[in-house]
Amino acid sequence: MEALLANLLTGFTVAVTPTNLALCLTGCLLGTLVGVLPGLGPTATVAMLMPVTFSLEPTGALIMLAGVFYGSQYGGSTTAILVNLPGESSSVVTCLDGHAMARQGRAGAALAIAALASLFAGTVTTAAIALGGPAIASIALLFQSADYVAVIVLGLVAAIVLAHGSVAKAIAMIVLGIFLGLVGTDLTSGEQRYTFGIDALFDGVGFVPVAMGLFGLSEVMLNLEARAASGDLARLRDRLWPTRADVRQAAPATVRGTLLGIALGILPGGGSTIPSFAAYSLEKKLARDPARFGRGAVEGIAAPEAANNAGAQAGFIPMLALGLPPNAIMALMVGAMMIHGIQPGPQIIAKQPELFWGLVASMWIGNLMLVVLNLPMIGLWVRLIELPYRWLFPAIIVFCCIGVYSLKNAASEIVIMAVAGLVGYVLRKLDCEPAPLLLGLILGPMLEENFRRALSVSGGDFSVFVTRPISATLLAFSAVLLAIVLLPAVRRGREQLRE
C-alpha cells in the first residue's frame, strides 16, 4: 500500500507539471474536436495527431496521445447521442438510448450522464491499473482459442438480450452480421469469399462504413421522411442537466458497467466493444421495466459508457505490462512509444517508473479534464443540433462521407456506407434492429478464426470447449443467459397465440 502511494505520488509529480497538464488538456481538446466529426474514431484521430507529438519528450508525448484517445472516444459518444452516428464500435450502444433521449429533448442530460459515467469508470480503472497492472495483465495469457470462442459467444448472447423486438429477428440479424463479417480473404486458405472480384472487398466489409450507414444514414432518411425537416429534433432546452432521479438510476449501472469493462477490456481483441454491449444487456436484464430501454433509459447510457471507458483504459494494461496491444489504437500507441525509443513491456515499470506512473496519473487527470471541458460544451452541442434540419442533414452526409473515406482513403468505403444506409432503412422499416447485426459483423471474423483454430489444434475434437475451465464456465454462463431470454419470449408467444 505504501509502495502504491509512493508510486502514485511519483506519477502525479510527473503529470501535474504545467507542461504535462497543458499537453493533457491540449490532447483532450483536440481529441474531442476531431472525435465529434462522424467517422473519425479514436484510431483515425490518434494516427492523425501522432506527428504532432514527435517533437515532444516521450512522457509528454504519451500523455498527450492518451488525452487525444480519451477525447476522441468521448467526442464519438457525443455524435452518437446527438445525431445517432456511431463513429466507432463502442458507441453503437450509446446510440440506442442516448439518441432516444436526444429526441425527447434531453440531449444535455444524456451527454452529462455519459461524461460522468466515463469519469467514474476512468477513476476506478486507473486505481485498478495502479494496484494490480502486471498481475491483471497475465490473465490475458490464460486465454486460448477455445476460450475466446466462449467469450465471443457470450458477447453474441448479450446482443440478443439487448434487442427489444422479436428474438428471432435479433438472432437472424446477428447471423447476417457474422455472414457479412466473413466476406473477404479467408485467413487460413487465403481464398476469396463473396468478394465477386471487387478489390475493395478483399479485406472484408469495414465496420465503420456499415455502422454509419445502418445507423446514421438511415436515421437521416427516417428523419426527412418524418418531416423533421422543420427542425423539431431537440427543442426542449429547459432540461440541460440530469435530474436527481436520473442520477439515482445511473449510479449503480455505472458501477456494474465499470467492473464489466475492466474484466473484458484486458482481453486482446475485446477492447471496448464487447464490454459496452454486455453492460447494456446486463442493465436491461436487471431493470424492473426493460421496455424503457431503447426509449431513453438513463442506465442504457451510463452502463455502456462506463464499460467502454473502463474497457478502453484497461486495454493499456496488457500494452504497458506485456507490450501486447489488444487493439489497433494500442498498436499505434506502441508504435508511438517505439518512435520515442521506449520499448513497452514489463521492464518499463522498473526502468522508467516516472513514465509508467506519470501515464497512469495522467489517465485520471485526462478523464477529469474531459468532464471539465465537456460539461460547458454541452450547451454548445445542443444548440448545434437545433439548426434547421434541412441545413444540417447535407452537412451530416458530407461529414460522414469524408470520415469514412479517411479510414482507408478509398471511395469504395463511401459506396459501402451508401448501400448499408439503404439496407438499414429497409431493415428498420421491418422492425429489425441494426445493433445485433453490427456486433455480429465485429465478432464474426473473430469467432470463425478462433473456432477453426481451436478445432484445428484439437484435431477436430469438439470437447475442447468444455474441457478447458475458462471456456466451459463462460459457455455455461451464456447458456443460462440465453435460457433466461428465450423463456419469457416463448411464454409471451404462447400467450399471444391463445388470445
Binding site: V34, M48, S166, A168, K169, I171, A172, V175, L176, I178, F179, L182, T188, S189, E191, R193, Y194, F196, L217, V220, M221, L224, E225, R390, F393, P394, A395, I397, V398, F399, C400, C401, I402, Y405, S406, A411, S412, I414, V415, M417, A418, G421, L422, K429, L430, D431, C432, L447, E448, F451, R452, L455, S456, S458, G459, G460, D461, F462, Q496, L497
Partner: protein, 151 residues
C-alpha cells in the same frame, strides 16, 4: 384470413433469400471437415442458419397478425443515397469541393420545394468548413480541386 404481406413475412423472406443466395454464391467454396475446416465451413453454417431463421420468421408472420408493412417514402431515401454516391464518384477525380456541391444538389431533392439554386450558398459554406477542418486543420490527403485547376 391473414394478410400475406406483413413486417414478419417480409423480413423472414429477406433473411431466407440472403441465406439461400449465400449458399448459392458460395457453392464453390471448400467446406472441409471439423479438424481442417475449409473457407466454406462457417459461411455455409451461417447461410443455412439464416435460411432456417428466415423461414421460421416467415412462418410466424403467416400464423400471427404481425404489424402491416409500413409506408415507404422513396424520395428522401433515394436522394440521400444519391448524394452519398455522387460524393463518392466525384471525390477522387474532381476533388472535395465539387463532391460537396454534387452531394448538396442531390440531397436537396430529398425535401420537396427546395430549389437547386438555393442550396448553392450553404453548400459553399459547407465546403469552406470542410476545407478548414479536414484539409488545413487535420491535413487529410484529400484532393481539393480538379487536377486541371490545381496546376
Amino acid at each position: 384470413m391473414m394478410r400475406l404481406l406483413n413486417r414478419d413475412t417480409a423480413a423472414g423472406a429477406l433473411f431466407a433469400a440472403i441465406g439461400a443466395g449465400g449458399l448459392w454464391a458460395g457453392r464453390t467454396l471448400n467446406v472441409g471437415s471439423a479438424d481442417a475446416m475449409g473457407e466454406g465451413y462457417v459461411p455455409m453454417l451461417m447461410c443455412g442458419l439464416l435460411l432456417m431463421l428466415g423461414a421460421g420468421i416467415f412462418a410466424g408472420g403467416l400464423r400471427r397478425a404481425a404489424a402491416p408493412l409500413p409506408a415507404l417514402h422513396w424520395r428522401p431515401v433515394l436522394a440521400v443515397t444519391a448524394a452519398v454516391l455522387a460524393f463518392a464518384a466525384a471525390l477522387e477525380p474532381l476533388g472535395v469541393v465539387a463532391a460537396i456541391l454534387a452531394a448538396a444538389l442531390c440531397a436537396a431533392r430529398a425535401v420537396r420545394g427546395v430549389s437547386l439554386v438555393s442550396v448553392l450558398a450553404p453548400a459553399m459554406l459547407l465546403a469552406a468548413l470542410v476545407l478548414g477542418i479536414f484539409v488545413w486543420g487535420l491535413g487529410l490527403p484529400l484532393r481539393v480541386f480538379p487536377p486541371w485547376l490545381a496546376g
